[in-house]
Amino acid sequence: MDLGLQGKVAIVSGGSKGIGRAIATMLAGEGASVMIAARSREPLDEARAALQEIAPGRIAAVAADMTDPAGVAAVVAATRATFGPVSIAVSNVIGHVIDSKKEGDGPGAGNFASMPSPEYRREFQHLFVSAWALAHECIPDMKAQGWGRICNIGSGVAREPATELPHVLPNVVRPAVAGMYRIMAARLAGDGITVNNILTGSILTERNLSYWTWLASQTGSTFEEVTATFHSRIPVRRQGDPREMASLVTFLCSQQACHITGQSIPVDGGSNRHL
């Protein structure tokens, strides 16, 4: 299926690894020019080199903190300078930190009873402000073209809080992102811009493996016990492949998906039971 993405200009935050990289790869494969942004230089350079193989001349990378509106503005400016006006913006920023050695400083994991209230402010900056800032910077380009695709890699907790996990921060902030997107979608529908949110389930990424390892250490279980317990709760009995996530995002960015907007769509193997 030709998705009509030839010549489109896309930005993917968190584009060097995992889900973001799978999205960047698939958008590039459909003919888009892709700017990937992430904090760490080394994985970013590695990802750019790998993506250049499939899309010579259509890949760029900028190291930036996408939770900071100034970082977002710099990436958008660099994208315009390299490829032209932005037509696709995929926001993919992690929230609370599992392994601070790998992920740097950030809000922590925990339940409500243990969470200091300032952490809600930090998580809001990570998850909400990052998604808002990327959309906010790109909307003028999209309005000028009469075409745009905005997509956020959210989480299933936006619809159903994961109260059995130490996830109070995303439990509280993710629904706010979904709501902000829903309103944005309604207000931008007349401009040919769609705004959608992905309710991510358990996707097999490097970060996800760190998460299971961390959770095992917290609960005194083995890695195998923890993953077996969680997999048994997923109707399809396995984790998702990042490409299964990326394929939905790529479809939502397509010409064909022009009438799908304001949606929060799960990619979770059937985990979310909410109607």
Partner: protein, 189 residues
């Protein structure tokens, strides 16, 4: 109906507006007393609400600071909720009520400028927080619910729903949101 509020102490968080006033009047009429501080006082009930920004628009927010100002309502409420929770748990009884906007249920049902869009966003976060608190506090008699104001609801009508959610009868309803909207809004959920 005896709401069982005699001797219970209630704390209000948020602006001192007509909703706060109506809640204070009704709760004290039902025999509750008003607490002044979550740290220096026994607190059985916390009622929180944010600043109402009639006609606020998501696309009109121009800076991260603008969002953080609105988000302060959430942080302030959760800060007090978190401080009140240990005492409620140890006493085996507690009530948290968030008074938000029904716009958080039908996010795009109205035209720009008719909805408090920013309030809808923060209300969603608080409704989710209430579900988390419901899960964490349920075993120890702590329940957490939301009252969503919309349509032409008066402050007294909102306060009546708040008082019910604070009552002795509201022990099995938790993590819920109820609309006080006069039937405005057509969404199923």
């Amino acid at each position: 109906m005896d709401l069982g509020l005699a001797g219970r102490s209630a704390l209000l968080v948020g602006p001192d507006d007509e909703v706060a006033g109506a809640c204070r009047r009704l709760l004290t009429a039902e025999g509750a007393r008003l607490a002044t501080s979550v740290d220096d006082d026994v607190v059985d009930i916390v009622i929180a609400h944010g600043v109402t920004r009639h006609g606020s628009q998501v696309l009109a927010v121009e800076s991260a600071e603008g969002w953080h100002t609105a988000w302060n309502d959430v942080v302030a409420a959760l800060d007090v909720f978190g401080r009140a929770l240990p005492g409620m748990r140890s006493r085996g009884w507690g009530r948290f009520v968030w008074v938000g906007t029904a716009g958080s249920r039908a996010l795009d049902a109205e035209l720009p400028g008719q909805l408090d869009e920013v309030g809808a966003v923060t209300s969603l976060a608080m409704r989710a927080a209430q579900k988390v608190i419901a899960a964490e506090g349920g075993a120890e008699g702590v329940v957490a619910n939301s009252v969503l104001r919309g349509g032409a609801a008066t402050a007294d009508e909102v306060a009546a729903a708040v008082a019910y959610f604070c009552s002795q009868w509201c022990g099995y309803i938790t993590g819920a949101s109820v609309d006080v909207t006069g039937g405005v809004g057509s969404g199923m959920f």
